[in-house]
Structures are given as structure tokens and as C-alpha cells.
């Protein structure tokens, strides 16, 4: 069966546009063919900076014929029956005919969802594919997602179509024959072009295989994976020549593969003296502006070499390497200049300059923020009972953590924030833990990235995020829908991950309350009701905490734990101790995974406890203190004993709380038979008020234990 080939030839497309555009094209063309009743084989999209290409195998030569039933209004609405029994179409019935271009004789009756409706068959003979494909492609092309679009020439006045970059040519071929596709100021033809410099002439195309051959001959590697692999191999070989290997950098590979139609890597060198600068700075200089690959030895130490991936085969490789090296040297010189002058003053002495940097207009400068971070970090550290010496380090980390933002290097390379802070802090003779904390307070830097390793970075990181969250919510810019310009969700997730990962048992409400008061001390957010702000912030945090807990359970193979997370978060402790909530979620989710049906009945049993007590409380029958001597039935005495056993387990010294929590869940599971028997044998709402109160009292004692672990009314009972 015939094949479809569609190529969009463009002026150089942005590297980041290409992969998503191709993913879209592959899916959209597939869907459009299906919707057009054109059975087809595999759809494959690939491309380079100058072309987006879709190839489809085995496209049917004709559309499948269509036969479908059109259903109209109910018969009683569509027809009116006259006194003599004759039927005429009502306006509603006529409208159905008109809309679908039918005649009354086409109509029949058929059972619809709500009684009998009028209906008709619509038949459409499939048209030749060649007649519909042009319009199909014209429909897909303008929908390719572009972050930014542009017009060119007089497009705004004439065709009005926009794209990521100007379109130069279109090639549309079906079964070896050209289709007609129009976009912007271009009409499709049956020719393509090779590499911009090596093979610029137009080449006629007759088939997919001949097209592929033409591109290969034309110095174009269409396959993105192949270009990437070529870079990896050829650049790797060059790195070996320089006595090392490529610094692994997948994101850079992904960019560079989309900067060239065919990679021609070239090895360049720089002077060893530059190696005195921090590795991160050199790598940033190479990758950010120049898209060069760094070369490292076996220990990860930089070699004085780089690989640039040229886009054409230069006859003067040495000159090309030297030219690129010259650009890099100028950049390194600049970097070296900043690195040298930055170290002429200490980080600590830069504090006052933070007054020049606005954090947020209504929330003050970075100096203000630093002051708040010092207070909040210290507060959190004290709540966690840190030793005095550690607290001093935390305070120092908070004081210095933003100071590298007013250095020359970070001004040039914002992504080096933290890294340069650590480097300069070490240079100034700050303690290693403080230096590490300065770098790590930004961790995790992105989803899935490592958490801070030290307590200094962890606490200051939490403080920094909480301060931002409280402040931004306070000025009324909480995230809405998909809009989260200050990345507050990311910040909240980071907070939760650090607290759980580091085992920080800090009450969210307490931390937020302190963060709010830190603003108010500075006479900021004074017009906001602090109680409402605290409530809104804690609610916001709870939402993110929930997500983190669900994800953590899923990561242990315990997917679908949303209800258990809700139950655990609604336990007595609330979100005052996240590591504890996390441990209970894990324990309960494991219990459910291991016990299946019996966990469901356990939850049902405990749910019943809650329900009975809730009903009693509604009737004003608040259970009083339990008087065990009032209990008469064996079943209730047995429950009492079992409960007393659980209560007495206490809090032994030296036992990890997390483990204790997990054991708590198991203990509860063990209580279940006694509870079940109790419900079997005993009527809680006994006629004798004293007995009834005793039984309610017993259940209340049980509830006391349950709410430590979870609110079981929130557990889903259907598996």
C-alpha cells in the first residue's frame, strides 16, 4: 500500500522546539488518519533543525466507507399525530432532517437511551486518500505547539499563519505523487534539499526510501537518535585523544543533537592555568553559552580540553578548533576576572549589598529575607533540639546563604548560585558544614534531585522555602490552576521531602506561625490577618504533603494509597510530625498490601467504632471516664484487656519512633478480633444508662488509640 511522506522545511528551528513538535506530529497525524477513516501502518516522525518529517507506512488508497446511524429527537417530539391518526413532522423533526440533509422517507424508529427516537442511516462512500490527505496535513500543521510564534514578510496581512521560524518549503508525497499542501506563503512540491552548505540544491523525491537516500547523500542525518549516538561516539573518541572522556551530560547532548543536521565534532584545548577555577564554573562557561562538551579524567577532574560539535565539515579543522578555543579563552578570562575579584572581599562582607536586591517588591530585599531566615532557621533548630554548636552553624548558614547572589560569577551564571557560595565560604575560612549548607539549601534543585546531606542546608532550605511560601501567599499570589509563577508548589514539595528525609519532627503550623511573625516583626504583611494567613498556608502545605506521601508510598510499590494518606494525615497528630505520618502511611499501606480482604474488614471494624461514637455524641451522650467494673460481658472484658495491653506498650527509650509507629499499626491489627467479638456479642446502646456509658467509654478509649494512627473513616473499603 502507498506511503505518505511529509516534510516541513524551515529556517533553523529552536533546539528545544524540535522534540515536542515531532512527538506531537507523530500522534496528531496518526489520530487524523484514523479520524479520516484511512487505515494505515506505522507513523514515524523525525527531524533536524531545518526539517520536521512525518512518514507513514501502508496508508489505504481510499477512505473506508462510512455507514452510521444518526439519532434524532424522541418519536413523540418529532412526529405529531392528528385527530385522524395521520402523522406529520413537527418543527423539531424537520430540523433533524434539514441538519443532516435527509428526507422523511429515510426515517425509521429505533430504541434510544430514553425511549424510542427517530433515526436515519448516513452512508458515505470513501474518497481516494490522495484527495483528503492534503487538507488533513493542512489541518495538523498549524497545531504544532510552539512556545513562541512569529510572522515573517507580509504574513500578518496575507495568510496570517505563524510558526516557530519561517517555513521555507513543504514536501508532501503520497504513493510517489505530490500532494497539494499550503501553509503560510508556501505551497508544497515534490522536492527536498540537503545540508545548507554541503548539498543546497533541490532534489526531486519519489519515495520514502529514495528520500532517505537523498538526505544521507545530502549530508543530513534525519534520525535524532542516530545523531545523538554519532555525537557520543565521535566526541567520545576525541575526548580519549585528550586523555579523558566526555563529562556525561545528557541534557546537553539533547540540545546539541538538535543544533546540527549532521554532527562534525572537533577537539579544542584551553590553557591549564584555567583549571584553578571551580569545575562548575568552567563547565557552565563551556556548556551554557558555547554548547561545548567538557572532558574529564577517570576521577572526574577536568582536562584542559573541550569538544565542539560543528554543523558542517570544515576543511580547516585546526583553524576551527583554534577559533572556538579563542572564544572560550575570552569567556574564561572574564570568568577568571570575576572569580579573582569576587574573592577580594568575603562573603560575609557582602551582606549589606543584599539591601540592593529586591526579593519581592512588597516583601522587601534579600537583606530582609536573610534576617528572617536567620530567625526562622534558629527557631526550627531549637524546636528540633539541636546542640548549641550546630545551631551556631545553622545561623551562620542562613546569614551567608544569599550572599553569593551579589558576586560577579553568579551575576554571569545564575545557575551557579550556591556552588559559588560554597566555594567562596571555604576560601573565607568558614566551617565546612556552613559552606556545604550554603550550597545545599537550594537542594533538591529539581524534581527527583538529591536532598541536602547536612542539617545546616536542610534547615535553612526549609526556612527559605517557607518564607517564600508565606510571603507570596501573604501578598495574594498563591498558585491558581496551572499558574504558579513563584514555583510555590515545588517549594512546598521540597519542604516536605526534606522534613521526611531528614526525620525533622517539626509542626508545620508552628513553623508557619513563626514565619508569619518574622514578616510582622519587619512590619511587613501587616494588613493581612495573620490567623487567616497561617491557616491558608498550612492548608496549601497539606495539599503538597499529601502528594509527597502518596508518591513515597508508590515508590515503595504501594500505589493507590491516597485514602490511607488522608487517614494518616487526619490522625491526632495531623501534620505536626511528617516523618511519623510517613511511617504510618507506609505501615498501613503495607498491611493492606499483605492482608488484602482482612485489612478491609479491619478498617470496616474501626470505622464502625468511629461511627457509633459520632452518633452517640450527636445525641449528647458524651462517653465519660471508663469504669471497667461496669463491664459485664466476656467479650467486652476481653477487649478491655487487649486494649490495656496496647496502651501499656508505652514509649521505650532508644526505640526508633518510626519503628514504633509501624508496630503500632500491627498492634491495632491485633486488636481487631477482640473488637469484632465485642460488636458480635454486645449491644453498645444498652438500656441501662450506666452500662451504655461504660461501653461507650470503652469504645472511646479504643478510639484514643486508633486516632493516634489514622482516621479509619477515611479508608476506602472497596478494594
Amino acid at each position: 500500500m502507498p506511503e505518505l511522506l511529509f516534510e516541513i522545511g524551515c529556517e533553523e528551528l529552536p533546539a528545544g522546539f524540535i522534540d515536542p513538535a515531532l512527538a506531537f506530529l507523530e500522534r496528531a497525524v496518526d489520530d487524523a488518519l484514523t479520524a479520516a477513516r484511512l487505515p494505515h501502518g506505522r507513523v514515524l516522525a523525525d527531524g533536524t533543525p531545518r526539517r520536521l518529517v512525518v512518514m507513514v507506512d501502508d496508508v489505504a488508497a481510499r477512505q473506508s466507507d462510512l455507514e452510521e446511524e444518526l439519532q434524532g429527537p424522541p418519536t413523540s417530539v418529532a412526529w405529531s399525530v392528528g385527530a385522524d391518526g395521520s402523522r406529520t413532522l413537527t418543527p423539531a423533526g424537520e430540523a433533524f432532517l434539514k441538519k443532516n440533509d435527509l428526507r422523511a422517507s429515510d426515517l425509521y424508529e429505533t430504541p434510544g437511551k430514553k425511549g424510542t427516537v427517530i433515526a436515519a442511516k448516513r452512508r458515505e462512500t470513501g474518497r481516494p486518500a490522495a484527495e483528503v490527505l492534503g487538507a488533513l496535513l493542512e489541518g495538523v500543521l498549524p497545531k504544532i505547539p510552539c512556545k513562541k510564534t512569529m510572522s515573517w514578510g507580509d504574513g500578518r496581512a496575507t495568510h496570517k499563519q505563524v510558526f516557530a521560524r519561517p517555513v521555507q518549503w513543504l514536501l508532501a508525497l503520497f504513493g510517489g505523487r505530490a500532494l497539494s499542501v499550503r501553509f503560510a506563503d508556501v505551497v508544497s512540491g515534490d522536492t527536498t534539499r540537503g545540508h545548507r552548505y554541503h548539498a543546497p540544491a533541490e532534489v526531486r523525491v519519489t519515495s520514502v526510501s529514495q528520500y532517505r537516500a537523498a538526505l544521507e547523500q545530502g549530508q543530513v542525518v534525519l534520525d535524532r537518535a542516530e545523531r545523538k549516538q554519532l555525537i557520543r561516539e565521535l566526541a567520545g573518541k576525541l575526548a580519549k585523544e585528550a586523555g579523558g572522556e566526555l563529562l556525561p551530560d545528557e541534557p546537553l547532548l539533547d540540545i546539541v543533537k538538535n543544533l546540527v543536521e549532521k554532527p562534525f565534532p572537533v577537539l579544542g584545548h584551553f590553557e591549564e592555568r584555567f583549571l584553578e577555577m571551580p569545575k562548575e564554573l568552567l563547565v557552565s562557561e563551556m556548556r551554557e553559552h558555547q554548547k561545548y562538551f567538557a572532558v574529564v579524567d577517570g576521577t572526574g577532574t577536568l582536562r584542559p580540553a573541550f569538544v565542539v560539535v560543528a554543523g558542517s565539515e570544515s576543511p580547516q579543522k585546526a583553524a576551527l578548533a583554534a577559533g572556538n578555543a579563542r572564544v572560550l579563552r575570552a569567556r574564561f578570562e572574564d570568568g577568571a576576572f570575576y572569580f579573582r575579584t569576587d574573592r577580594e572581599s568575603t562573603l560575609a562582607s557582602r551582606g549589606p549589598r543584599l539591601k540592593q536586591m529586591v526579593f519581592q517588591r512588597e516583601l522587601g530585599t534579600l537583606a530582609d529575607k536573610t534576617e528572617r531566615l536567620q530567625a526562622l532557621s534558629t527557631h526550627l533548630g531549637m524546636r528540633m533540639g539541636l546542640a548549641q554548636a550546630t545551631l551556631v552553624g545553622v545561623f551562620r548558614t542562613a546569614a551567608l546563604c544569599k550572599c553569593d547572589l551579589v558576586t560577579g560569577v553568579v551575576n554571569e551564571f545564575p545557575e551557579l548560585q550556591g556552588v559559588m557560595g560554597r566555594t567562596y565560604a571555604r576560601h573565607d575560612g568558614e566551617p565546612a558544614a556552613v559552606a556545604a549548607g550554603i550550597e545545599e539549601h537550594y537542594a533538591p534543585r529539581h524534581a527527583g534531585a538529591a536532598l541536602p546531606t547536612g542539617v545546616e542546608g536542610a534547615i535553612v532550605g526549609i526556612a527559605d522555602r517557607l518564607d517564600t511560601i508565606v510571603g507570596i501567599i501573604g501578598i495574594g499570589k498563591a498558585p491558581t490552576g496551572s499558574a504558579d509563577p513563584f514555583a510555590l508548589r515545588r517549594a512546598a514539595i521540597g519542604c516536605a521531602q526534606i522534613m521526611i528525609g531528614h526525620g525533622f519532627r517539626v509542626s508545620l503550623e508552628d513553623a508557619v506561625t513563626f514565619a508569619v511573625s518574622a514578616y510582622r516583626t519587619q512590619k511587613k504583611l501587616e494588613k493581612v490577618d495573620p490567623v487567616a494567613l497561617i491557616k491558608q498556608t498550612v492548608e496549601f502545605l497539606r495539599g503538597r504533603v499529601r502528594g509527597v506521601l502518596v508518591e513515597r508510598a508508590a515508590a515503595q510499590g504501594l500505589a493507590g494509597a491516597e485514602d490511607i494518606v488522608d487517614a494518616a494525615m487526619a490522625a491526632r497528630g495531623g501534620v505536626n510530625d511528617l516523618p511519623d505520618v510517613d511511617a504510618r502511611v507506609t505501615a498501613l499501606a503495607k498491611l493492606r498490601a499483605e492482608q488484602g480482604a482482612s485489612f478491609v474488614s479491619l478498617a470496616a471494624t474501626f470505622k464502625r467504632v468511629g461511627n457509633i461514637l459520632a452518633q452517640a455524641r450527636q445525641k449528647g451522650l458524651a462517653p465519660t471516664e471508663l469504669d471497667p467494673s461496669r463491664l459485664v460481658d466476656d467479650a467486652e472484658r476481653a477487649l478491655y484487656d487487649a486494649l490495656a495491653g496496647v496502651e501499656a506498650r508505652g514509649m521505650p527509650e532508644g526505640v526508633d519512633l518510626t519503628e514504633l509507629r509501624a508496630r503500632g499499626a500491627a498492634d491495632l491489627a491485633r486488636l481487631r478480633p477482640s473488637v469484632d467479638r465485642f460488636f458480635d456479642k454486645v449491644l453498645v446502646m444498652a438500656d441501662d444508662p450506666a452500662l451504655r456509658d461504660a461501653r461507650l467509654g470503652l469504645l472511646a478509649r479504643l478510639e484514643e488509640q486508633l486516632v493516634e494512627v489514622a482516621d479509619f473513616t477515611k479508608v476506602q473499603l472497596e478494594a
Binding site: 500578518r156 496581512a157 583553524a319 577559533g323 579563542r326
Partner: protein
């Protein structure tokens, strides 16, 4: 493998979509001074061969001027007011507005006070030269035209690995933005290549393409020198060589002192306010109507004094945004007023078909 079998591509040359060479009959009413008699023909190189390298700084300028003159550009002269870039010259900022066609090329001496290094840094200057080209509307084969201009200078795109790398351009103070590339030669950005989408906060009915060549960088590559002051500016008939340093080193030293240490900040601050007030007043003149060109020149003064104040370190981060907003408001006012003034004159440079499309047609 320099297998260059490119055919002359006659189709492309004969059919530049949407752009016609300016016929003499459509000359602007007050003929700009730079529009001299037709220039003598320049040696034409086939698009696959680079010319011998331009060996002096002035040769680079001369070749670019001839190249673009032959492509139908007016060769005009720099603005007389200090600007940070050729984009601020009225020949770009105002002429890209509205539907009238405009093709122009000029050298722009550009001032970046904070980039001064007292003549000590081999790559940084507080005053440097841009070669600016505006083609409105953007021709379909503009990339090829541009590559030919490099070949004209002696830069073979293959040997120099010339590439178009995404770089979207934005000038907040001008309310201007466009999409395009920085053009790399051997990893060095030698040209900013932008399709203008917006200017003075206004959407543009016709898209201009702006090419901004960094003349010093290009010349340093062509002459293979590492220090800008070592560039040969000219080789005189006597054989004597005049260097870039001979021409500009004293400038760099004195102006760096001025920009960083000597400029009278109180006076500049006051002048900023005066120029701003004057620009506003000129835009509001009732009889004979707004004087937009003088107003725009006062706006440029504000912009430049602001740059000097920044170099003097007297503009705090918070004030910075406020100053930029003030300049942007002026620029926007000038853009709107200029467009209105051209409209009231009936867009005199439009051809009949263009008028039908942009003024009388559905897109007016």
C-alpha cells in the same frame, strides 16, 4: 569534502517574495542624504565562494555597505545622539512601524558605558561599532543573502562553521521584541539576526528583519588578532597602518573615567528629568501637531543618561525598573505618535498594491 555543487538558484534570485527593489520613481519625498548616485558595481562572488578576507576594519564596513547597497538598501549615516545599539536609531526604531517598506544599512557607533575597561581589556569596549541592516518586509531568501554578505567579507560558512542558533531578542525599554538567532562563526556570535515582531509596544503589520553585525568581532576573526586595539583600521596608500587603538584607545581610557568616576550624577539626574519633560511636551505640541522626531531624540538622551547613571552605580535595583518604565513610556509615546503622523500623511512611501493591502484593504 567541499563538494559544493550548488546551482545558481535562478528562481530564488529572480523572485524575492514580497520585496521589490526600490525603483527610482518611488523615492521618499525628502531624499535621505545617504542616498547617493548608484554605487559602482562590486565584485560578485558566486554564493559558494568566499572573497579574499577583508584585511582592514574599514574594508569590512566598505564591503558591507556595497553589498547591501547592491541589494537595494539605502546607505544612511549614524544618528547624532548617543545610542546603545543601532536599533535605537530612528532609521530602525521608527521605520519598522507601520506598513511602509524600508530597506536601509548603516554603521552605528554604540555606547555601553558599563562595558568600559579603561582600554585594558582586549575584548570589552564602552564604545564600539555595529553594522545595522533593516529589510522591511523580510525577504524570503534573507538567510542566503546574509550568508552571501559573510562570503563577501571572506568568511566561508563551512570553514567557519557558521550556524544559526536560537536567540530571541527583547529590549524592554523600547517595548521591542523579535525572534531569530545569534549567528555563530567558529563559536563566536558575530551577528544578531532578528525578525521584528513588536516595537514601541506595537504589533508590526509588516515584519522587518534586522541584521546587526558586530564589526570588531568580525574584523578580529578576519585579521586573526586577539586584541581589539591591534586591529588594523586602515592601510594607507603610503603603506602606513593605522590601528583601532590609534583611533580609539584614548577614547576608551577617558570615557571609562568619565562613565565610572567623573560624570556629574546630580546634573545627569536633573537632565534626565528635563529631557523626559521635553520629550513629553514635544509629543503634546498642538500647533502644528506633535514633533515626534525631536521628541524621540530627547527620549534617546534619557536612555543614554540612564546608562551612564548605571555605570556610575547610582541606580539601585528598585529604581532601575522605574527608570526603564519611564523610558518605555516615552518610547511608546513616540512610536504611537510617529505611526499616527505617517498615517495622517497617507503613508507616502506605499506603492499602489501595498496601499490596497494595508490601507484600503481588510488589514488596514
Amino acid at each position: 569534502m567541499p563538494a559544493k555543487k550548488k546551482k545558481p538558484a535562478p528562481k530564488k534570485a529572480a523572485k524575492p517574495v514580497g520585496r521589490k527593489p526600490k525603483p527610482a520613481s518611488r523615492k521618499p519625498k525628502p531624499a535621505p542624504k545617504g542616498r547617493a548616485a548608484p554605487l559602482p558595481p562590486v565584485t560578485r562572488f558566486s554564493s559558494s565562494t568566499a572573497a579574499p578576507p577583508a584585511t582592514t576594519f574599514q574594508e569590512v564596513i566598505l564591503r558591507l555597505q556595497r553589498f547591501w547597497a547592491n541589494k537595494g538598501c539605502l546607505i544612511v549615516q549614524p544618528t547624532r545622539t548617543e545610542v546603545g545599539a543601532g536599533t535605537l536609531n530612528k532609521h530602525t526604531f521608527l521605520r519598522v512601524l507601520g506598513p511602509e517598506p524600508w530597506n536601509v544599512a548603516y554603521v552605528e557607533p554604540s555606547s555601553r558605558p558599563t562595558d568600559g575597561r579603561y582600554g585594558e581589556n582586549p575584548n570589552r569596549l564602552q564604545h564600539y561599532y555595529q553594522f545595522q541592516v533593516i529589510l522591511k518586509p523580510s525577504p524570503k531568501d534573507i538567510q542566503e543573502q546574509y550568508l552571501d554578505s559573510l562570503r563577501e567579507l571572506g568568511i566561508d560558512p563551512v570553514a567557519f562553521d557558521v550556524r544559526f542558533v536560537e536567540d530571541d531578542w527583547e529590549h524592554p525599554a523600547l517595548g521591542a521584541a523579535g525572534l531569530g538567532w545569534e549567528v555563530w562563526a567558529q563559536g563566536m556570535e558575530v551577528t544578531q539576526f532578528t525578525y521584528f515582531q513588536q516595537c514601541g509596544g506595537l504589533d508590526l503589520p509588516r515584519v522587518s528583519v534586522e541584521l546587526t553585525y558586530g564589526l570588531e568581532r568580525l574584523a578580529m576573526y578576519l585579521q586573526n588578532v586577539e586584541n581589539v586595539y591591534d586591529l588594523v583600521w586602515a592601510e594607507l596608500p603610503s603603506g602606513q597602518k593605522i590601528s583601532y587603538g590609534d583611533v580609539h584607545k584614548q577614547d576608551e581610557l577617558e570615557w571609562s573615567h568619565y562613565n565610572f568616576k567623573q560624570a556629574d550624577t546630580a546634573a545627569l539626574l536633573a537632565q534626565f528629568g528635563q529631557f523626559e519633560a521635553e520629550a513629553k511636551r514635544l509629543l503634546a505640541v498642538e500647533e502644528p501637531g506633535p514633533l515626534v522626531l525631536p521628541a524621540y531624540e530627547h527620549t534617546l538622551k534619557c536612555s543614554h543618561w540612564f546608562n551612564v547613571l548605571q555605570a556610575r552605580g547610582v541606580v539601585s535595583q528598585t529604581e532601575r525598573a522605574a527608570y526603564i518604565a519611564r523610558i518605555r513610556d516615552l518610547a511608546r509615546g513616540c512610536a504611537e505618535t510617529y505611526l499616527a503622523s505617517r498615517a495622517s500623511r497617507g503613508f507616502p512611501m506605499l506603492s499602489g498594491t501595498e496601499r490596497a493591502l494595508f490601507v484600503e484593504g481588510p488589514h488596514a
